[in-house]
Symmetry: C3
């Protein structure tokens, strides 16, 4: 089953991959690793889920926001590499903006982790780091960086 | 000398590797790199060194907390990969929670760096990044992410 | 054209690569990847651009600070690896300290991105992540981590 078919069975549609917001590339392939630029909850050009978790946004909002970041990661790989070349997801770094005493980050980041595992199965297994930052660009509540190993 | 013997000569005991707190894996091997999930100062299931450096915790506490994170990194590799397969440590990202004017992070992160170099010697040499985050999960004072290159 | 000649045509001089401020190495080569430790806006031993963006420092200051970090990355690779061995830049993680409502981070990080692309051309293409941290060591306004793929 192709990624697009798999997404369809999950009721998901691949968004347009967001364009870079600076002098960098969204996907950088060096030897057998594809490095991705940070992805935000942007849906076909529209900024979503801006604000602070625990104040402007709930944990469920955060989960959906992280899922949207992960869909953008998948869209970037689909458009610029193709999943037939992918051996597997390596690691994700997940960033969030929250109020001081909010502590639901692991649940929120499962929005990305669940999507990767559901869509890519064994190729979607990954390690991850999560931390609450002071600020993300454009006041996005969450952001996500990933890298993939490619087949030779 | 094995890792366990080396730890013993240093008066250290390997803790149980902490289980993942979400839909990810603690160690993800892709080709010749082992990517680790963020490790916290958890000792056999018990959360340690929670709070903010410079307020709830001293620099010496932070050093011990980082050493505990590094021991968990070593425990993860020992249990899931084995050091006979390890070519060397690559890079560590070290995160901490501190009060505004506290500036002892390099000393604190040496708690991890010293351990890696003492236990793994040349294989423990690494580059590192350190930054003070807004918040870590479960109010941990420090966290640590690492990757290792494996032998073919 | 060598890196030094290229820098000269751009009116730039390579600084002394900063020494590590702890028990780590500035450049760690494992197989075909060179991992770099975080670089700060240090010019030949002198700390520059300390403070918070949007308060003590302007966006243009931040751009110059990021450019200085990138020059230190280039200096580290030049002195410890040599650009004849470099296949290309992989990814950069850019960190900054700013006041709450400051949102010019992509422009600031272009200070590093522009330099890499101008000096290294195709070998300088990279993906990137940016996030506003709570605090950087020595009150530096910005910091930069990078890795490079080496030729076999």
């Amino acid at each position: 089953m192709s990624i697009l078919q798999k997404l369809e069975t999950l009721g998901l549609v691949l968004p347009e991959p967001p364009a870079p917001g600076g002098n960098y590339v969204s996907v950088n392939i060096r030897e057998s690793i594809a490095y991705l630029a940070i992805q935000f909850p942007i849906l076909n050009g529209e900024f979503k889920y801006q604000g602070r978790l625990g104040n402007d946004l709930t944990t469920e909002d955060g989960y959906q926001a992280m899922k949207m970041c992960a869909l953008n990661v998948i869209a970037q790989i689909h458009h610029k590499v193709g999943f037939e070349r992918v051996s597997g997801l390596n690691h994700i770094d997940a960033y969030y903006q929250a109020v001081e005493n909010w502590d639901e980050a692991p649940k929120v980041v499962n929005g990305a982790s669940d999507l990767f595992v559901n869509v890519l199965e064994d190729k979607g297994l990954h390690s991850r780091a999560i931390f609450g930052v002071h600020k993300l660009s454009r006041n996005f509540s969450v952001g996500l960086t990933a890298s993939f190993t490619l087949l030779h």
